[in-house]
């Protein structure tokens, strides 16, 4: 599914990723943990194609196709979904309009027929109910005036509707209380499937109590410095990142 090899990337003059390699097979959930400034968010932005992140070396492919040369919206149509740490507010664009525009744009890019309004509304009603999102809220401007928890649930709803193949969750637990964390995690777990890969980026182990990863990688100094099973996350929680920070330096 996702294959990253020797990835180097910089923001302005600073090199942030320094030879990162990683492979996430279809059907697996991999966690990326690391201290602040390790390059976790940079990795998510490089994979999704945000402007200002320059790749100087290395490759990233999705099922063999080069991702890095594609525009962000083309990557999305290929199945890349980044759940933002801080989802943006889109004033004047109702959440429903936004979702339908996105879904149909992706379908159009893939040469599939667009979804008609009745079928779309039925789909969204079902998915929203599962996430305990009030349907009336979807008539309001996307994320405008939403609480932190509501914004994260909107991200999960978008995932559920758009059905991406590669999910990147960037610090999805930040700003969530326990109840919201449980709802969001259940939403993510419901999306686990043999055809889908997930990359869960997090500073704390807490989220991984709810979304159990198949593999855990430690990102430090712009590279993966250690990999292991779920027990590695617990070890990091106990002992901190100091050991790996030294290894990176």
């Amino acid at each position: 599914m996702l294959k990253i090899e020797n990835l180097h990337a910089r923001v302005e003059e600073a090199e942030i990723l320094k030879g990162l390699s990683l492979e996430v097979p279809a059907g697996e959930v991999h966690a990326i943990m690391g201290p602040n400034g390790a390059g976790k968010s940079t990795l998510s932005y490089v994979l999704s194609g945000r402007a200002g992140y320059e790749v100087t070396q290395g490759t990233a492919t999705l099922d063999g196709e080069d991702l890095l040369s594609l525009a962000p919206d083309v990557r999305a149509a290929r199945g890349v979904f980044l759940s933002f740490q801080y989802p943006l507010e889109i004033p004047g664009v109702p959440a429903l309009t936004f979702l339908r525009t996105a879904l149909n744009a992706q379908k159009k890019a893939r040469g599939e027929p667009e979804v008609a309004a009745p079928a779309f509304l039925k789909l969204v009603r079902e998915k929203a109910a599962a996430l305990k999102i009030d349907f009336e809220m979807l008539k309001r401007s996307l994320n405008v005036g939403f609480s932190g928890g509501e914004k994260k649930r909107m991200e999960i709803l978008q995932m559920a509707v758009l059905e991406p193949r590669l999910l990147i969750l960037d610090e999805t637990d930040s700003g969530l209380d326990i109840d919201a964390l449980r709802i969001v995690s259940e939403g993510v777990n419901a999306l686990r499937s043999p055809g889908r890969a997930m990359l869960v980026i997090t500073h704390y182990q807490r989220l991984l109590d709810y979304i159990t990863p198949d593999r855990v990688h430690v990102l430090s100094g712009g590279r993966i410095v250690a990999s292991g099973g779920p027990e590695l996350a617990l070890e990091l929680e106990r002992e901190g990142y100091d050991r790996y920070a030294k290894a990176a330096a």
Binding site: A51, P72, D73, F84, L88, I90, P91, F98, S141
Partner: protein, 341 residues
């Protein structure tokens, strides 16, 4: 300075210039070196149908300065005022509109034409006690024209005056509205949208003078400028001594979509009364790049994402238009002006 006299006397010295504080961003004296010849008359058949023809029970035509000079409206009425210009001459028109007490009137005003004309329209609108008026001004003029519309609105106690100006700009275009506000629970709303491309220039100037207690004024103006276009907003709200408990709110927000486009704004609140609630906000900026990336990450192509954001931005003003047919005309106009963004 007197634009109508300058046109009548073919005297450029009387044109408003940058030395007139209210005209410093729309300097006609510096633009027009030689006074145009008087426009030749055009016939009603040549003028064709205006954008609001299908919506109005009655259409008043002013063609190259010629048309009715007085108009009385009572009861419930939808009246179109179609100001048409053609050619490269100059012309000026005056129209006095009297709206009877307790009338409910929709006034659908359009400015349109062909050529490089210089046009001035002076309106006096008197609104009787308890009447309500919704005025829509669609100023969709040719790129080479110079068009100025100046309206003096006198509001009575208990009346409501709600206005939305839709401006496409021109070589120079100015839509000016001055409201004498009597307080007395009368309400004024002065909204506008300007959507400018090429080298077009639009100037939205408003002034509301609150004379007595308990008046309300609300303004929301939004603009989108690209290429080398220039948008001007001058808004003044004066709350005179004794006009206590006045509530006034003014917002002007503009998007600049190119490096060479320009927006000049001068919001002014002059308050000489007590217990007044006044607020104003003014922002000028580019499209939110973060929001654009977010939308693209969800699969929406860049052009479509930009169009959606811009449409939503001006939609907030257009949605406030109460008359449904006029609102649809406004949406169609905006979609046409924003094409290619």
């Amino acid at each position: 300075m007197n634009l109508a006299a300058a046109i009548r006397d073919q005297d450029v010295a009387q044109l408003p210039s940058r030395r007139d504080e209210d005209w410093r961003w729309t300097d006609l004296r510096g633009l027009i070196r030689q006074a145009p010849e008087p426009s030749t008359p055009i016939w009603a058949e040549q003028a064709g149908e205006g954008p609001f023809a299908a919506l109005a029970g009655r259409t008043v035509l002013i063609a190259n300065g010629h048309g009715e000079r007085e108009l009385s409206i009572s009861g419930q009425a939808v009246v179109a005022l179609d100001v048409v210009s053609a050619g490269s001459g100059g012309h000026a028109a005056q129209l006095k509109i009297a709206i009877a007490p307790d009338a409910a009137v929709v006034l659908l005003e359009s400015y349109r034409g062909t050529g490089e004309y210089l046009s001035h329209t002076a309106l006096e609108i008197e609104i009787g006690v308890g009447a309500s008026v919704e005025r829509i001004v669609l100023a969709d003029e040719p790129a080479e024209a110079v068009g100025v519309s100046q309206a003096q609105v006198t509001l009575s106690p208990g009346a409501s005056f709600v206005q939305t100006v839709l401006a496409s700009g021109a070589r120079r275009q100015r839509i000016e509205t001055r409201v004498r506000h009597p307080g007395g629970h009368a309400q004024a709303r002065l909204d506008a949208v300007y959507l400018l491309g090429g080298k077009r220039h639009a100037d939205i100037t408003t002034e509301v003078a609150h004379a007595h207690v308990d008046g309300t004024t609300d303004q929301l103006i939004k603009g989108v400028v690209r290429d080398q276009a220039r948008g001007v907003f001058q808004g003044r709200i004066v709350v005179s001594e004794g006009a206590d408990r006045t509530q006034a709110r003014m917002g002007h927000h503009a998007l600049i979509l190119s490096d060479r486009a320009e927006v000049d704004a001068k919001p002014e609140l002059e308050i000489y009364a007590d217990d007044v609630t006044c607020a104003h906000g003014n922002t000028v900026g580019a499209l939110d790049e973060e929001a654009l990336f977010y939308m693209r990450q969800r699969g929406i192509p860049e052009g479509q994402a930009r169009a959606l954001l811009i449409e939503a931005f001006v939609g907030e003003v257009i949605d406030r238009i109460a008359h449904e047919g006029a609102r649809e005309v406004a949406r169609g106009w905006a979609a046409e002006r924003l094409k290619g963004e």
